[in-house]
């Protein structure tokens, strides 16, 4: 009664050529992506070490007569950009996220805000650059300056902060809120004491992601923060603040200049790239650590 014809035999392997081809393509593509990434990192590391020195890290580049190659000025400028951008964007972004999740009723306004946030995240940085160069000049009479650059970047990172914070707030268990409201706590009190503390990691994540974007940004900065790479001398406390009204090229902008001039300066472009890459790596690791902490807390 057993029908063991060849067609039905369990052990007859059917070779499916299309399966094999597709599988090979899948493995090939993944291998290419990994090899490419590793190759890029190693290449930058090796090339970057050529021009790397303590002098490179501890002195600024002079725009004329191009005889010193360093990035200290740009590192300081980048730090300024990061700090100011976060100071402006984080409160607004977190506030917007709180509005969207806690106050807004599901209606037209929420939809518009969510749509515009999406739109903001899709606008390319060069448009931000163009916009920033006219807008902040028209409104605040700001010429090329760190402040104009930071304000431009603030708009750019806003969607990241809003969305990441929103996600974090949504994960705060309903029970916590009900507990607070059940005790008669007013809304802001509830947000301050219950919601914000439990999504602080989410806000931290959004800040870390934003730092990554700020450090890596270039096109939005060339026309807003400019390209200067000199060190400002901090003679008085006031200088720390007035610096924001001066031009200041970020690391990425300096890299672009080195690369554009080419020739012997190419190696300094790679050294700058190495500095950026290490920064990005550190940022990635920080983001991982925060995510790990969140997971540990949840479980």
């Amino acid at each position: 009664m057993t029908k063991n014809d060849t067609q039905n035999s369990l052990c007859k392997k059917h070779i499916r050529i299309s399966d094999i081809i597709l599988k090979a393509l899948i493995f090939l593509c993944s291998a290419v992506v990994v090899a490419m990434t590793l190759g890029m990192i190693i290449y930058i590391a090796v090339k970057g070490m050529e021009g790397m020195s303590w002098t490179f890290l501890s002195t600024p580049a002079f725009s004329y007569p191009y005889e010193n190659y360093g990035v200290l000025g740009n590192i300081i400028n980048t730090l300024y950009l990061v700090v100011i951008t976060l100071l402006v964007a984080t409160p607004i972004g977190v506030g917007a996220a709180i509005y969207l999740t806690e106050y807004a009723k599901q209606g037209r306004l929420t939809k518009i805000i969510e749509f515009t946030t999406e739109t903001l995240s899709g606008i390319p940085s060069i448009i931000y650059g163009l916009f920033g160069s006219v807008f902040f000049y028209n409104i605040f009479k700001l010429n090329y300056s760190i402040l104009a650059g930071a304000l431009t970047l603030s708009i750019m990172v806003l969607p990241t902060i809003i969305r990441t914070t929103q996600e974090a707030i949504k994960t705060v268990p309903l029970g916590y809120r009900e507990g607070a409201i059940g005790l008669g706590a007013p809304k802001w009190h509830m947000i301050r004491t219950v919601v914000l503390p439990s999504c602080i990691d989410g806000i931290l994540t959004s800040v870390i992601l934003s730092i990554g974007r700020i450090v890596g940004e270039s096109a939005a900065l060339i026309f807003t923060a400019g390209i200067a790479s000199e060190l400002t001398s901090f003679d008085s406390i006031a200088d720390v603040f007035t610096k924001v009204l001066n031009q200041g090229g970020s690391l990425t902008v300096q890299l672009y200049q080195y690369a554009q001039r080419g020739g012997s300066e190419m190696k300094y472009a790679f050294s700058t790239a190495l500095v950026l890459l290490v920064t990005v790596l550190i940022i990635n690791i920080c983001a991982k650590l925060v995510a790990y902490r969140v997971r540990k807390k949840r479980s």
Binding site: N4, N8, L10, K13
Partner: protein, 254 residues
């Protein structure tokens, strides 16, 4: 027992999920063109056993199986077995209706297409026959190219049965096929099972003892990974040999 052929024979089956010993020494023969029901409380291993028959447990990481499984005398777990051929011969209907997010036609034609049938006329015929076989053709014939997700749960499940029939399996495994459905749909599927057993060997896991009593020819009772009793459905329900079986079917636990 009567002069019946054994379709699937399993001997000394043990199954582990990691450290968990989920099936213990199961010996059970499934008879050709009969409906065999597996009953027992949740977590007793009946679904696990069912899924080991077409090696769906292979997909579960950390799952280890020993013992012998023979389909028409051929070892299901032998080296070199093509699980795709195995699953074409032993089809499966799942607990939750799970039609693909495609049209009804494409759902039913999926299996035949995967197994290399390309002719439109042939596919048309298979789809129609399968839907008729699953007693759902009249309800969906005017909207074969509409999404299967637009159907009711009961219709979806019958489309899933049609989809399983379309690859012309020899055995159909059903894992609580009606537990997510309303009573009317359940009744339709029970009637359907009675008509398809002439062509197919059916093994069904059910939570519902009345269902097992109504539709099956043989019943196996599982309890915490062991098969307590196996025999003709009438015998199991009217003259259980084991105390535990009796307690279960009289509703004393479970």
């Amino acid at each position: 027992m009567e002069n019946e052929n054994v379709k699937i024979s399993t001997k000394n089956v043990n199954l582990y999920y990691g450290e968990n010993h989920a099936l213990k020494d199961i010996n059970l023969d499934i008879k050709t063109n009969r409906i065999t029901a597996f009953i027992g409380p949740s977590g007793c291993g009946k679904s696990t056993y069912l899924k080991s028959l077409n090696r769906m447990n292979d997909l579960v990481p950390g799952c280890r199986i020993t013992g012998s499984f023979l389909l028409d005398g051929e070892d299901i777990y032998a080296d070199g077995v093509d699980t795709n051929v195995l699953r074409r011969r032993i089809g499966m209907v799942f607990q939750k209706p799970n039609p693909f997010p495609m049209s009804i036609y494409d759902n039913v034609a999926y299996g035949p297409r995967v197994h290399g049938i390309k002719s439109k006329a042939k596919l048309d015929r298979i789809v129609e026959e399968s839907l008729i076989g699953a007693a759902v053709f009249d309800e969906v014939k005017d909207r074969l190219h509409k999404s299967a997700l637009s159907l009711s749960g009961g219709q979806q499940q019958r489309v899933c049965i049609a989809r399983a029939i379309a690859v012309q399996p020899e055995v159909i495994l059903m894992d609580e096929p009606t537990s997510a459905l309303d009573p009317v749909s359940t009744l339709k599927i029970e009637e359907l099972m009675n008509t398809i057993k002439d062509k197919y060997t059916v093994a069904i896991v059910t939570h519902n003892m009345q269902q097992a009593a109504r539709i099956s020819d043989y019943t196996a009772f599982f309890l915490v990974g062991e098969m307590v009793e196996y025999g003709k459905t009438d015998d199991i329900f009217s003259r259980p040999k084991d105390k535990r079986t009796e307690d279960y079917i009289t509703g004393r636990f479970g």
